[in-house]
């Protein structure tokens, strides 16, 4: 079986055997079966529990051997000293994909944990099966309405494929669901990030790959896989264990070695991954890659309701290498026509005098100015600085924003919004499907920078090889 076929058993199972399903249900029971029923997973479910006939209306089996088919994947969630015999049962049954959720193997503080883990790996290898974990939340796939995590999570079919060494990613970040699809490699005794990258490389649903890495025993093989996938899809990488003290913590988390942080930095960039420094940068960049077109250059135009916040925005442009261009003559003429005579028009463009003095409506001023700015050939991307002091935008306003995006399909524009109604206004704005809003100019410009850098990376590849990367 190819690696991809093997990984499909984990990520696209038609049937699941779940060993260690308790009769306890409800809050704080963390019942995997209950979760799968809750999501509406449509595959076949075979809970294993020798002390029950049915749980939540689903027939249970006393042992894996009694299940009427060879399930695509087996989940094992049992105290660690019971895991080995159950793995044996699964292998005897012919199951080729086994998720060991249980903690306390290579991540444990004693001799026995690592020993048990080696034994399991040897058994699986001999039977041609693969092990995911131990110490893992397993896998999730929003399209199948399936997650093997204890914790009930929100999922969203969104084009994100995540490879992780932590279950935290299942729960997701504040602004984005990382499921999509997720593999938590846990202690990575067998299935690892490279296998997972193989899967996401070919998966037509995955448009952006998110990679959480603590340490990597085979850095060379890993980087080769990253290099290959990065030519097809953006890879956002959060590599942790940067300092000496956090590297010690990694050791006790998954038993992995972190390696030199600086070397990782260089190697990841060289391989075409986009290394992000924190989870907000990660979710901002992921949202940008899902939603916005890549800019063709680093020229940026900024429109603003307040001069002061326009300058804060200009500082952010400077920090992230976007060039606050001087507008061309036709752009300047158009902007001047909308403003009082005394206004020193430039970039950033102050749009408030056009509203307060010239009497243009806010929605008209915002979208007309944005349109003029994006029309400028020097401008490759735009940021609008607006306040969120009213709770929503009107339908007409949203339609105007959609029209701007339609007319400039290769120029991303984003919003920096301030004020107490941020979350509500962001929701309505982003419902257009054409733009993103951020709570600071730094985050808005940083997201544009990542789009630009990715475009540059692909351009360099074409320059070097003479051909665009295969899709």
């Amino acid at each position: 079986m190819s690696v991809v076929e093997q990984m499909k058993l984990f990520l696209e199972p038609r049937s699941i055997a779940a060993v260690g399903i308790s009769r306890q249900t409800g809050p704080q029971a963390y019942n995997l079966l209950e979760n799968l029923l809750h999501y509406g997973y449509e595959g076949r479910l075979y809970p294993v529990n020798p002390n029950a006939k049915e749980i939540l209306g689903v027939k249970t089996y006393p042992a894996v051997g009694e299940i009427p088919e060879v399930a695509d994947v087996a989940l094992i969630s049992l105290p660690r000293n019971l895991v080995v015999p159950v793995v044996q049962d699964c292998l005897q049954k012919g199951i080729k994909a086994i998720v060991i959720i249980t903690q306390g193997f290579a991540d444990a503080d004693d001799v026995e944990g690592p020993q048990l883990q080696r034994r399991i790996v040897d058994m699986a290898k001999a039977a041609g099966a693969r092990i995911l974990g131990p110490n893992t939340f397993g896998v999730a796939n929003a399209q199948l309405k399936m997650s093997t995590s204890y914790i009930r999570i929100p999922m969203e079919v969104n084009g994100i494929g995540t490879v992780s060494q932590t279950g935290g990613t299942f729960v997701g970040l504040n602004d984005i669901r990382l499921v999509g699809k997720v593999v938590d490699v846990g202690d990575a005794c067998d299935v690892d990030a490279v296998d997972s990258l193989h899967y996401f490389e070919q998966d037509p649903d995955t448009r952006v790959v998110v990679l959480h890495v603590e340490g990597m025993p085979d850095a060379k093989g890993f980087l080769a896989a990253v290099r290959r996938v990065a030519l097809k899809k953006p890879i956002l990488c959060i590599k942790t264990g940067r300092s000496a003290q956090s590297a010690r913590a990694v050791q006790s988390h998954t038993g992995a070695m972190t390696g030199s942080d600086l070397l990782w930095d260089v190697a990841l960039r060289d391989a075409g991954a986009i290394r992000v420094n924190d989870i907000e940068e990660l979710s901002d960049a992921a949202r940008a890659f899902l939603r916005l077109p890549p800019p063709r250059g680093n020229g940026i135009g900024v429109t603003t309701y307040t001069g002061g916040f326009g300058i804060i925005a200009a500082d952010a442009c400077g920090r992230y290498g976007m060039d606050l261009v001087e507008f061309s003559e036709p752009t300047m003429a158009a902007l001047k026509a909308l403003s009082p005579e005394w206004l020193g028009v430039g970039n950033p463009v102050d749009i408030w005098p056009g509203v307060s003095i010239m009497g243009h409506s806010r929605q008209e001023m915002e979208t007309t100015v944005l349109r003029h700015v994006l029309s400028d050939p020097k401008v490759h991307a735009a940021m609008a600085v607006i306040s969120a002091y009213e709770p929503r935008l009107g339908d007409e306003h949203l339609a105007m924003i959609r029209d701007v995006a339609r007319d400039f399909p290769d120029k991303p524009f984003v919003y920096f919004m301030y004020g107490m109604h941020f979350e509500e206004v962001r929701r309505t704005l982003e419902s257009t499907g054409t733009t993103l809003a951020f709570p600071s100019p730094e985050r808005a410009v940083r997201a544009l920078m990542h789009l630009k850098r990715r475009a540059d990376y692909l351009a360099r590849h074409i320059a070097r090889t003479g051909s665009p990367p295969r899709r």
Copy 2:
């Protein structure tokens, strides 16, 4: 009249003359009188409009001279060519504090604007009056339910005093209201940041000063004022116009020169101000100073539900100079007693096995472990990494958190929360009044770092002078 008495006329007016109040009201009319009535300002209001007898039920006057008292402050919101004669009227009436909201003076692109501005300043000086602006949102004071901004803003009595060169600060940031009290110095033709600092220095309601600076004609006098105030209250400073291109934008915004960014960096730190790089850092730090005690050292303990996010948190500690201490023996013993035997207990402390394997409830595990960590003499601050995958915390849980804070009054603790219910869980958590929650570990630790640095600054002052700063 002393500077402070003069500034009180602006910030604590008992009566307001408002020149240029339109009869138009409702959305997009930006009517200052309507706003003041809406807030419930309880002082006396004198709108001036020669074409109306009353507006919104308030008697209007044809000219400033007709008002039956000398108002504490006059607001002028008129086209720029009408401003000079009205300033003259105000001065003749004996008004000593004048806010010129109108744009288009030193910030204009022509010769006339700056000329008009000089004339106004000369007139006021001769009459012993002060001018705030032009090109300003004016002032706001949540305690008086008063704001002179066009834009209707949310206010909150919260101990923040803001000095700004932009009206954007009136609208506030996403996580915090900067009003409190605000002075927008605008073009700063007369009243400037130094005058405003004088006011906030002595104002008993102000516990944290927020300073937004673009440029400063008298940097030396400004820094001396900062140095004096910083010994009494934390000053958070956002100094913009960092790059060459944004410095150009400042020039056209308020006519100020920005100066060398590096020199500003050194000078502000030397004067005891806390320079922040972006508005999220600003609001995070302001919230920390309002809510949390200063830590006595940089030792930090981290508790977490996921090893992976614990390591991300450890990375953040390394980045911001907090020391992830090795726990003392009694702490280790207490933590081990709560965990399965095989768990490698350390810092960060993984609390999930205590829930999933040992059967402790989440609220019990979270607060008991936090308590053990804070009991460690090496620990001066703590961060708890928790998921926000359920929409709220129960009352019992909140009471337990309050108790922890009560028992460790000199050790701040904060939360890094991830997951889709972040906003809701944060609101309930912060309703305890004793802690803060952040959407990334970087932001949580950075806020603690600012508290620590401020404590260090005051300690150095005591070491140098032998006496604590006056309060």
